[in-house]
């Protein structure tokens, strides 16, 4: 009698579900957006004019596809908005996270440590819509009245940092980046904190024995050891930032048909734009609008995978460099 192995089979089936679900999503997106890919061609990626066309007119045939008159789909502005806001968020979040993780693992009083760690982790579970609300009522006015004038006063000689070239309303690239930075700081902090805690005791004791100060031990011995984990944490955070929808939608100012000229200019990100356009796209009798939104999702997916791959390559190179 052959042995039935229900445990192993069940686990295998459950484990398979995850890659299967991923494959199903990619397959669906590609299949659903197939016509849009054909209609839009490569213009999709490097033009900035997005127009659903006249949804109340009779559809016309263009390039062999049925579309509303005047329809044109170009997403360069959303790609730029997504990448700019995410990379700025990483730029803001990494120094804060490294500082916080170092404080937690080295300088925080032992009795306080579990509480402080819990507080940091709590930030990670705040729903994104709450961040969005906080953004609208606290951050955006703060940027409009204080942060923008301050940045303009110091860096205003560069057009990109001059608020007079934008609405000055507070909604825009900077607001989106700061909200994103807040959302990803706990991810980077906790991964780095765990890595710092796992640095071998011998290593730091040897460093002390060589006469290093506390700061030198942390900066020169512990951080390099945790570097790979730090990059991993940043990649994870970047993935979150690229795909964040609600909070960004609420504070980004919803730009359409132009690229950000300053750090204060309104932007749109790909994820946020899909959400904000879906309702109107549903009214397109030719369905090309919804299919083009699916194509945005596909492009977003590809960008996320690319960013991940590059980061993994970085990690591998770091490891190799150290082993060499």
């Amino acid at each position: 009698m052959s042995k039935v192995k229900p445990f192993r089979l069940t686990m295998a089936a459950v484990a398979l579900l995850i890659p299967l679900a991923l494959a199903a999503i990619v397959f669906f997106l590609a299949r659903y957006s197939w016509q849009a890919i054909g209609f839009n061609g490569l213009r999709f990626l490097w033009t900035i004019n997005w127009n659903l066309g006249n949804l109340y007119g009779n559809t016309v045939m263009r390039h062999g596809y049925e579309v509303p008159p005047g329809a044109n789909y170009g997403i360069l502005a959303f790609i730029v908005g997504t990448l700019f806001s995410s990379f700025l968020a990483i730029l803001f979040a990494v120094p804060v996270s490294v500082g916080a993780a170092m404080f937690l693992s080295e300088k925080a009083p032992a009795r306080m440590r579990p509480w402080l760690t819990m507080l940091v982790e709590l930030v990670a579970v705040v729903p994104s819509v709450v961040f969005g609300l906080w953004g609208i009522f606290v951050l955006v006015p703060l940027i409009a009245n204080w942060i923008s004038p301050a940045i303009t006063a110091v860096l205003g000689f560069m057009p990109f940092f001059n608020m007079n070239n934008s609405t000055g309303s507070g909604y825009g690239l900077l607001a989106a980046s700061i909200v994103l930075a807040l959302m990803i700081t706990p991810i980077i902090t906790t991964t780095l904190y765990d890595a710092l805690n796992q640095v071998p005791r011998e290593l730091r004791e040897s460093a002390y024995a060589l006469g290093a100060t506390h700061f030198e031990v942390v900066a020169n011995t512990m951080l390099p050891t945790a570097r790979v984990t730090l990059i991993g944490g940043i990649v994870l955070a970047l993935g979150r930032a690229l795909g964040e929808t609600m909070a960004v939608l609420m504070v980004s100012g919803g730009a359409l048909n132009y690229l950000p000229g300053t750090i204060f200019t309104p932007i749109s990100t790909m994820a946020a734009f899909i959400l904000s356009q879906l309702d109107s796209a549903l009214q397109d009798p030719s369905n090309m609008a919804v299919k083009s939104l699916a194509e945005i999702a596909l492009v977003l997916f590809v960008i996320t995978v690319l960013v991940n791959a590059v980061a993994r390559l970085l990690v591998r190179r770091t490891i190799n460099a150290r082993n060499a």
Binding site: V4, P6, N49, L52, Y56, G254, L256, N257, S280
Partner: protein, 358 residues
């Protein structure tokens, strides 16, 4: 042997769970004596439905209504797919959509309007005058300053500030964008050919323009930005007043500047009421008549003629008949600043409602 008994245990567990689920299902089925209708869609109609439902359910104990605010496009799509019985929409369905879904009815439930509001320090108490072409100029970036000659000409004697205008538009798909862009399209040929109208339009890139989410986002953007201008659904009039924002007079087809009041909205509805076709899909924007307010619209229920069964069909008919008659009483509508449907429109609606079957 051991793994066999484990297997048996898990099978038993599974069977138990299945029985439990089946039991629950039966429980739900036997409790379902009443018909439940689902309404989803327009965020502008949503507050009115919430005012209606308790009164309707009290009068009709056999019917329960759940409401949801998801957006007009979603309301139309879900009603077509049969996911909900009633889709709420500020915009009527296009010819193209109707051609694909010939069994769908567009039934007006009430009349809504839209105000143009602004935050202009010192002038919020003053009703500034705007025309369609001037608003089109502001929203396409050809009129950029508050003291531009085109605005000054409409407002003689008013000291307008020399400051950049911040035009605010909706980023989400919206019936408010639909009726606002229709006003611009019907009054300004250049806007009509370049941008046109829809629940989302391809807003021209205006230096200093701003996007906002939903009517609450529009009010918030007005409050937060001096020198901004925005279009807001009239059911938000209370919030506009509370924030001491300005409300504009709009130039109508007859060339007169009018405020959105009960009188001007009713005048516009009366002017186009006779033109309403039997399927009731018509724009009420830029109506003729000296007293007509130019931005008003029917709020629609989007309903499939063919419902799942007779009980559901009867319940839908009861609800729609109640909403467009008893529901049009002043006590309900005044809370959201909507206006009642004219008698003739209610008669057209009754004929459409009669087509709904199980």
């Amino acid at each position: 042997m051991r793994s066999d008994s484990k297997l048996r245990r898990s099978v038993l567990l599974g069977a138990g769970a299945a029985a439990l689920v089946a039991g629950l299902g039966v429980g739900v089925a036997s409790a379902a004596q009443t018909v439940t209708l689902t309404e989803t869609g327009s965020s502008l109609l949503y507050p009115l439905f919430n005012i209606w439902v308790p009164h309707f359910e009290k009068a009709h104990p056999g019917i329960r209504v759940t409401t949801q605010s998801t957006g007009s496009g979603t309301g139309i799509a879900q009603a077509i797919k049969g996911l909900v019985q009633i889709g709420a929409s500020d915009a009527y369905m296009s010819n193209g959509q109707l051609k694909q879904n010939p069994g769908i009815l567009n039934i007006p439930l009430a009349i809504s309007a839209q105000s143009i509001n602004y935050n202009l320090p010192g002038l919020n108490g003053h009703h500034l005058v705007f025309s369609g072409p001037v608003l089109a100029g502001i929203y396409s970036g050809t009129i950029t300053n508050w003291d531009a000659p085109a605005i000054a000409k409409l407002n003689p004697g008013v000291k307008l500030p020399n400051h950049k205008i911040i035009p605010v538009h909706r980023t989400d798909g919206s019936g408010d964008t639909f009726i606002f862009s229709q006003y611009l399209s019907f009054s300004t040929p250049a806007w009509n050919s370049k941008v046109g109208y829809g629940t989302s339009v391809s807003w021209p890139a205006v230096q200093g323009g701003l996007g906002a989410q939903g009517n609450p986002g529009m009010v918030e953007a007005l409050k937060g930005n001096k020198y901004s201008i925005a279009y807001v659904g009239v059911s938000f009039a209370k919030q506009i007043d509370a924030a001491h924002l300005g409300t504009a007079k709009l130039v109508n087809r007859a060339g007169k500047a009018v405020l959105p009041t009960a009188k001007t909205v009713s005048a516009a509805a009366a002017a186009l009421g006779d033109k309403t076709p039997t399927d009731e899909r018509i724009s009420l924007i830029f109506a003729p008549g000296a007293n007509s307010y130019p931005i008003i619209n029917y709020e629609y229920a989007i309903v499939n003629k063919k419902q799942a069964n007779k009980a559901t069909a009867d319940a839908v008919k009861t609800l729609l008949t109640w909403a467009s008659n008893e529901g049009n009483a002043e006590q309900y509508l005044k809370q959201v600043h909507f206006k009642a449907l004219p008698k003739k429109i209610r008669e057209l609606s009754a004929k459409q409602i009669a087509q709904i079957q199980g």
